[in-house]
């Protein structure tokens, strides 16, 4: 029972990760796309933790989800927010 739950939770995380990645690809508003990419990093952090890599999880959380998003947002603020066709 517990194993089944675990399996479902893990598959759900993977599905969320891929959905987040596809969202980051599809969103026309760059700010939304960056937030979707940050969401992918966050899920990846959880996956790293589940793979018994706490050091990498910490680095991914602080770099991938925080600093990367921040510099992306600064760059978008300095340029343009919409993905023109």
């Amino acid at each position: 029972m517990l194993d089944t739950l675990r399996e479902i939770a893990q598959l759900g995380l993977v599905a969320l990760l891929l959905v987040g990645a596809v969202c980051a690809c599809m969103f026309k508003d760059l700010l939304n796309a960056v937030i979707a990419a940050a969401f992918v990093s966050l899920i990846a952090t959880v996956l790293f933790f589940l793979l018994h890599a706490p050091d990498v999880a910490m680095a991914e959380a602080s770099i991938g989800a925080a600093i990367t998003t921040a510099i992306f947002v600064i760059a978008i603020k300095k340029t343009t927010r919409s993905e023109e066709e």
């Binding site: 598959l11 993977v14 980051a24 690809c25 992918v40 018994h52 770099i63 990367t68 992306f72 023109e84």
Partner: protein
């Protein structure tokens, strides 16, 4: 179902690599391309960690004395991925500074338009 579960980390990492490469090849907007780059790198990092995983292992930290070295996951991919993450953020920061300058020069982030404006 169980094959899917056993390989779910591989599926996640290959999926991220595929989406990242697709974004980098197809999208015209430079910031979108860089988002693709960061997804691509996350996928590679996940792949590297997944390759070094040991089923039923523990994190490679002797937090209590009762842990057995024989049941620890491989520390080398973790050290390597730590390096790769930092290299990724360095490239991204440089790329975003170039993005800002590109926008100042051309007034657009569309790479096809930039190419047209150049000549």
């Amino acid at each position: 179902m169980s094959a899917l579960y056993e390989n779910s980390y591989y599926i996640a990492s290959v999926g991220l690599i595929a989406v990242g490469l697709y974004v980098m090849v197809v999208k015209k907007n430079l910031i979108k391309v860089l988002i693709g780059l960061s997804l691509f790198e996350t996928g590679i990092n996940l792949l590297f960690i997944a390759v070094g995983y040991l089923a039923g292992g523990t994190a490679p930290i002797f937090s209590t004395h009762s842990l057995l070295p024989g049941r620890m996951v491989d520390p080398v991919p973790q050290a390597v991925v730590l390096t790769a993450i930092v290299i990724g953020v360095a490239v991204l920061a440089l790329a975003l500074s170039l993005t800002i300058r590109l926008y100042e020069h051309y007034g657009t982030l569309n790479l096809r338009k930039v190419r047209d404006l150049k000549w």
